[in-house]
């Protein structure tokens, strides 16, 4: 717990001093969202129909964009090897990293979701669905992205490889999240999809941090 707090505070200080790290993915998200209507056409019906897919694809790309830096500095500067060598509570460190990355990349998305709904012509029911799926789904995005970041930590071309490894794993999330928003915009019940998202989140909360830990150790060794 002490370690979690220390690592979390440290991470917040770093984020406060390197604003580009979390601001750039956010701007990327907004720009991608604007590109879709420009590319496909801004007919309100069409936009509302493809909005769930657009929002989710933009969200997972922006999370991926910010993921690479997650452990990179700590690896390059030797912080990780010291943590591994001294067998300090690494799991707390990993969790602190994931939580702070969620706070810096996904929380702003949640806060921006009314704006997004406005831009893409979603009604309030669909917006609520976007909000709820983002709430349940983005932690999953961050968990898997941190796994990708840990796996490719010492690889030569980490960035693009990270996307290659993790994007296929996002498919179930994408399917269920956009289906929920779809259902909501038709005025149907989407609690089943939310339940599936919740189940996937629980499963990955239990397993992914352990895999991240293992990946970090083998990249440092």
């Amino acid at each position: 717990m002490v370690m979690f707090k220390a690592a979390f505070v440290r991470e917040w200080r770093l984020l406060a001093r390197q604003k580009a790290d979390w601001l750039n993915p956010l701007m990327f998200f907004l720009i991608v969202l604007t590109l879709f209507p420009l590319g496909i056409g801004a007919k309100p019906n069409l936009l509302a129909e493809i909005a769930p897919g657009i929002i989710w694809i933009a969200a997972l790309l922006s999370v991926l964009l910010g993921a690479e830096r997650l452990f990179k500095d700590d690896y390059r500067q030797g912080v990780l090897e010291q943590l591994v060598a001294a067998e300090q509570p690494m799991l707390a460190y990993v969790l602190a990293k994931i939580v702070s990355s969620w706070c810096s990349t996904a929380l702003p998305l949640l806060l921006m979701s009314p704006l997004i709904a406005l831009l893409l012509g979603l009604d309030s029911a669909a917006w609520l669905a976007v909000f709820l799926t983002l709430l349940l789904g983005t932690p999953l995005l961050n968990l898997l992205a941190s796994l990708g970041a840990a796996l490719t930590l010492s690889a030569d071309k980490g960035g693009i490889l990270l996307a290659l490894l993790i994007l296929p794993l996002y498919i179930p999330l994408l399917i269920f999240a956009s289906a929920a928003v779809d259902q909501a915009s038709l005025g149907l019940d989407y609690s089943a999809q939310l339940a599936v998202l919740g189940a996937m989140l629980c499963l990955s909360l239990a397993l992914v941090p352990l895999a991240v830990l293992k990946a970090l150790k083998l990249n440092v060794g």
Binding site: L147, L151, T152, S154, A155, D156, K157, G158, L161, L164, L165, L167, P168, L169, I171, P172, I175, F176, A179, M200, L207, A211, K214, A215, L218, N219, G221
Partner: protein, 263 residues
């Protein structure tokens, strides 16, 4: 669990075993493949609905089955490698991955070539084809990760971990794609009826499935041999092996040296 095995003797013995099995497995694989495919191509009656196009089944189904089979065996090897730190299992992951990827490509391509006359289009977002495509992405991820590190050991371990993560995800991906497919199923796509296959058609199919399994086993042996040599190249037994094989050069290199002397 395997710690009692002498770390020296093990890769060497494994290398010998693979070398011993490979020719037999490969011969059996080629024989069964020819038997199954020729039988299926020339000696079975055509399907009453699909005509002769169904004969693609003799490569499509075996490659699809073994693309999954290869992934599961890769994941089992990866699990053993991670939990019990068995190096040979770690190398097996890298040896199986390209074979599985090729099987997946074959299954995808033959699926498309079968779909064209049946569905009128090369590609449909059918649940099975889509999961197969995602399986290919997973394979490519494992292969790409294995080759991305300056240190080969790190690459092997990382790709083993990814293979295990992938196998946990595979059922989830499969079911979500299946569910998505029922949701978005277009009216134009007619699925195949449940196969009630005649015995005369079943035998060549079973033989072809066996053949693809044998191909997987044989090529795994061959690639594992290479991986063992690559990772154990500083050991005395590998050095001796390389020297003894270099002392008896292949025909091509003799011809080359002769022409050089003549010039």
């Amino acid at each position: 669990m395997f710690k009692w095995l002498d770390p020296y003797a093990k890769p060497e013995t494994l290398y010998r075993i693979c070398g011993l099995w490979f020719p037999w497995l490969m011969t059996a694989a080629v024989a069964t493949l020819l038997l199954g495919n020729l039988w299926g191509l020339a000696f079975t009656p055509p399907d009453y609905q699909q005509g002769d196009s169904y004969r693609i089944i003799h490569i499509h189904v075996p490659s699809a089955i073994w693309s999954m089979g290869a992934y599961s065996s890769m994941a089992i090897a990866a699990f053993i490698a991670l939990v019990w730190q068995v190096k040979a299992a770690q190398w097996a992951v890298g040896a199986i991955a390209p074979i599985g990827a090729v099987f997946t490509v074959i299954a995808l391509f033959t699926g498309a070539a079968w779909g064209k006359p049946m569905w009128g289009t090369w590609w449909v977002w059918d649940a099975r084809l889509t999961s197969q495509l995602i399986l290919l992405f997973l394979y490519l991820g494992v292969i790409a990760l294995a080759g991305a590190f300056a240190d080969r050991q790190t690459g092997a371990k990382a790709s083993a971990l990814l293979a295990v993560v992938g196998v946990v995800n595979l059922p989830i991906i499969h079911f979500s794609v299946e569910w998505w497919n029922t949701l978005h199923q277009g009216a134009t796509i007619t699925k195949f009826a449940k196969p009630s296959i005649d015995a005369s058609m079943l035998w060549p199919l079973l033989i072809s499935i066996l053949a693809f399994g044998l191909i997987l086993a044989a090529l795994t042996c061959l690639r594992l041999k290479t991986a063992i040599l690559e990772n154990e190249q500083h050991r005395p037994w590998v050095r001796q092996l390389a020297v003894s094989l270099a002392a008896t050069p292949a025909k091509g290199s003799i011809a080359k040296s002769v022409t050089k002397e003549e010039v």
